[in-house]
């Protein structure tokens, strides 16, 4: 039997959940379809990034212009997170602690200096700190750290608490969520779209593709070649410690991110690879990534030594071209894409707002213009 909904959101991660909530606030009927295994809901680690991440700059130098173009959006996105959390009155461990990108050499500090200059030009408030500054504001950093770039607009949020609270908010507004339904393909039908899923067809007037790295495959049918790809990453989390690490910590030259959640647990990541999952399977953790990230963490923050790692997990980050893919699909009324690009958790709620406004026909569309999916239109490229 075909299930019917006015608007279907494919993907129940941070983006899909927020879009569903925003549409429901406007009185729309929304059904969220989430795969539930290895989907976006498992991937996020709760960093609120603003400054350019050195890892992406090293890995994808061709995408740096895209990242720079999107920098003001990051700051707005973090402000949007704060406003949303305040407006909904939810306790999700949001803390605007500022973020440090640490350096171990003069060369790395020079890299940070040049990066900071470009970021300032884009309107960010960043400053370069000396070791003496760090000893004062971040005494937990190890002796190898000689300086850092501080970005005051960065912070962190407990992703499990936030996902649960936002899902509850959406549910309270009447959003329905199928937690274990995989969308296999989408086709047009009279007056809308027909989605094939592993639990039977779903028919909808409007469809929003918020499926992270899986979006490209679903959008191809509509002439869009969105190069969304899964980047399986290894993560570690420790048992709870007394307040130790205030900032969101990254490294100018090494793959490490650190933050302490409101629970006291320290999340250690930094882009170390995980094993790609086969088929529908979630990705798997890697021993080398665990050893490398844990020892690097203790190199940067020596006091981590007595803490035990309780759990490792692997999640898929979604990479595109350094820029979000947001908005209506030209030539297919009622079809929308919502992929924030890198740092999807930070950009998730604001991206969702922009797409929800596009769905509702609100605003002049100016804010979303740089991110429209058209740049991946196969037909346009052929012309």
């Amino acid at each position: 039997m075909t299930r019917r909904a006015d608007t279907v959101v494919v993907g129940g991660g941070i983006v899909g959940t927020c879009i569903a909530g925003f549409l429901a606030e406007a009185g729309e009927g929304v059904l969220v379809l989430d795969h539930g295994h290895g989907a976006g809901t498992t991937s996020n680690a709760g960093s609120l990034h603003v400054q350019m991440q050195s890892r992406f700059m090293r890995l994808y130098p061709e995408a740096v212009p895209g990242m720079e173009a999107q920098l003001p959006l990051y700051r707005e996105a973090v402000a949007f997170w704060r406003d949303l959390v305040a407006r909904l009155g939810i306790d999700v461990g949001l803390a605007m602690t500022g973020g440090l990108m640490v350096a171990e050499s003069e060369e790395q500090l020079a890299f940070l200096g040049a990066k900071a200059a470009r970021e300032r030009a884009a309107g960010l408030e960043v400053e370069i700190l000396t070791r003496a500054d760090l000893t004062r504001i971040a005494p937990y950093l190890g002796p190898a750290i000689v300086g850092a770039e501080l970005c005051a607009d960065e912070g962190k949020v407990d992703p499990l608490a936030a996902n649960a609270a936002l899902a509850a908010w959406a549910a309270g507004l009447g959003v329905t969520r199928d937690r274990d339904r995989l969308v296999l393909g989408i086709d047009t039908e009279a007056g809308g779209y027909l989605l094939a899923t592993d639990r039977g067809p779903v028919s909808a007037r409007r469809v929003v593709l918020a499926a992270g790295w899986g979006t490209g495959a679903l959008a191809a049918r509509f002439g869009l070649a969105v190069p969304s790809r899964a980047e399986p990453l290894h993560m570690n989390i420790t048992e709870a410690a007394a307040p130790l690490i205030g900032h969101l910590v990254q490294h100018a030259d090494r793959m490490i991110t650190l933050k302490q959640l409101a629970s006291g647990q320290v999340v250690i990541g930094g882009g170390w690879p995980a094993r790609a999952g086969e088929g529908r399977d979630a990705p798997g953790v890697e021993l080398d990534s665990m050893i490398a990230s844990a020892t690097l963490a203790q190199h940067v923050v020596p006091a981590l030594a007595p803490l035990r790692i309780l759990r490792c997990w692997a999640g898929n980050n979604t990479a595109v071209d350094g820029r979000g893919v947001l908005g209506p699909v030209a030539g297919h009324p009622g079809l929308f894409v919502a992929v924030p690009g890198d740092a999807g958790y930070t950009l998730g709620p604001l991206s969702a707002r922009l797409v929800a406004d596009a769905v509702l026909g609100r605003g002049d569309g100016g804010a979303i213009a740089p991110y429209l999916p058209d740049r991946f239109s196969v037909a346009l490229a052929a012309r």
Binding site: D288, I291, T295, P302, A305, C312
Partner: protein, 527 residues
């Protein structure tokens, strides 16, 4: 003798026993606070549940049940959040290939009856064998050895275990004791925390003999200090001849509870009652008893002797009854049984069955065993003993021997394991008759109310879980994400079966196995 300090109190202890044994012997069950800031005490007594964490000589989060007493030790209740020192030396970053690597022909994980048998059989056929066991002395739970050399003599079960350990060593099995395998990756590649630091092992063949853990019994009050697993009490007794002072109530289903009661009585402890879910043996059990006598007459005689000892001591036997709730009284605990009866106790032991410790097998994607030789779906990996399905020590030993012979065959050696196959069939007949004898009068069902803690580590209650389920979390992973149940230090070992009962995903193999299967200290990885 040794003296240790727990908070401000000085406690007389025995050099070599576990910290938990010393504390329990002094009747000190409260070790700190749990996630909900309620008093917290030990549960499993075997290193799995992480409920007995304490700080020892300044090192936080140590398991009291696994840490060994040294004279002058200073023990503090574990803080809910660990305070770390400011003067710790930074690590040099390293990669996995910097860790020492061993490549034995065969790695056996677990030194209980199954692992010892597999290792000895394969080694006797000329194969290089490394056996890793988490306890300081191999033997597993069944053949647990004494930790304190000056104790009263070993009993028959311990002597039999010692003989098997000696046989393994004499055959040339290399044993690495006190080492915890915490990770398993495709290859297979396993990684252990050893007394000398982390170790990688890439064996040609792997036998997983990881044993079982006790199931939780989430009734109201089961997380109170002084409520422990039956196996925990038996470990305290068998390793250190420690029995908790005061009244001990033992409750559950199966022969382990009877054996514990008899052993504690013989040691002079006060057993206030034995509560058994099965009805008292009667004429309708005659067939089962006959079959058991035919299969293993000495085990039947042993059981009869245990019962005689309880009768002689006039220990009340409450049959066809299950523990329904526990509450703290002015002094000790009040145990409420589902018949309505209440029994006062200072310690309550709960033994409501075992669950296979299968996390390494699951992390490696091993299904099965897929044949009689205990092979799994992954070439070169075998699984044996209670880590596969609960069958007891004798079934486990026979399976270990059969797997050891199959490993030998892989290396071109022939070992006759006909006797093991016969023994396996005989002990399976015994087990099946035994569990007819111990069939509960009513299905085992802890009466959890909304406030009953299901996930001890994260303090998640049954009410919270039911609400999440009713809100649409119908899979175990969704329940875990929504409530944090299963995200704590025990890795969901004690709540996974309970979560499964709340979901409609009967085919789900449990919570996704996560590395590390035991928490691992960052400083130890950098060592």
């Amino acid at each position: 003798m040794a003296a240790i300090r727990f908070g401000a109190q000085v406690i007389a202890a025995q050099e070599g026993e576990s910290v938990l044994a010393a504390l329990a012997g002094a009747g000190m069950w409260t070790l700190g606070e749990d996630a909900r800031r309620h008093p917290r005490g030990a549960w499993c007594g075997m290193g799995a549940c992480q409920a007995c964490l304490v700080t020892i000589d300044g090192v936080p989060a140590q398991r009291a049940c696994m840490a060994k007493v040294r004279d002058g030790m200073a023990i503090e209740p574990a803080a809910a959040r660990i305070e770390t020192a400011a003067d710790i030396v930074a690590a040099a970053p390293r990669r996995a290939d910097a860790l020492p690597l061993r490549t034995p022909d065969l790695l056996v994980v677990g030194g209980g009856p199954a692992g010892l048998a597999a290792a000895t059989t394969a080694r006797a056929a000329g194969i290089e064998v490394l056996l890793i066991d988490e306890r300081r002395q191999p033997g597993g739970q069944y053949f647990k050895q004494r930790d304190v050399a000056t104790l009263s003599p070993a009993d028959a079960q311990q002597r039999e275990g010692a003989a098997r350990i000696d046989a393994a060593l004499e055959a040339g099995v290399e044993m690495l004791a006190g080492a915890t395998v915490w990770g398993a990756f495709p290859g297979p590649e396993l990684v252990a925390d050893t007394p000398d630091g982390p170790l990688r092992v890439r064996p040609s063949a792997l036998v997983l003999a990881t044993g079982a853990i006790e199931r939780g019994w989430p009734v109201p009050g089961w997380t109170l200090p002084g409520v422990i697993a039956t196996g925990a009490a038996q470990t305290l007794w068998r390793t250190a001849r420690r029995a908790p002072p005061g009244r001990i109530v033992i409750a559950g289903n199966g022969p382990l509870n009877l054996q514990l009661a008899a052993e504690l009585l013989a040691g002079g402890a006060k057993v206030a009652a034995l509560v058994e879910a099965a009805p008292a043996p009667g004429p309708r059990h005659a067939r089962a008893l006959l079959k058991m006598s035919a299969a293993a007459p000495s085990l039947v005689a042993q059981g009869a002797a245990y019962r005689a000892r309880l009768a002689a001591a006039r220990v009340p036997l409450v049959s066809a009854a299950q523990v329904a709730a526990v509450r703290a009284a002015d002094a000790g605990l009040i145990v409420r049984v589902d018949t309505g009866r209440e029994i006062a106790a200072d310690t309550l032991c709960l033994g409501y069955g075992l669950a296979p410790a299968d996390e390494l097998a699951r992390a490696l994607g091993c299904a099965g065993p897929v044949d009689d030789a205990m092979r799994t779906s992954v070439d070169g990996i075998w699984r044996v003993g209670d880590g596969v399905a609960i069958g007891g020590a004798h079934v486990a030993a026979a399976q270990g021997m059969i797997a050891g012979a199959a490993v030998a065959a892989r290396f071109g050696r022939t070992v006759d394991c006909g006797a093991a196959k016969t023994a396996l069939a005989r002990h399976r007949r015994f087990q099946s008759a035994l569990w007819r004898l111990y069939a509960p009068a009513l299905p085992l069902d802890p009466s959890s109310d909304a406030d009953t803690v299901v996930c001890r580590c994260e303090g998640v209650t049954m009410g919270r879980l039911r609400t999440a389920r009713d809100e649409g979390c119908t899979s175990m992973s969704a329940l875990k994400l929504a409530t944090r149940a299963g995200m704590g230090a025990c890795q969901g070992r004690y709540c996974a079966t309970l979560l499964a009962g709340l979901t409609d995903a009967s085919g789900e193999p449990g919570l996704a196995p996560r590395v590390p299967v035991r928490p691992v200290r960052i400083g130890d990885l950098a060592r």
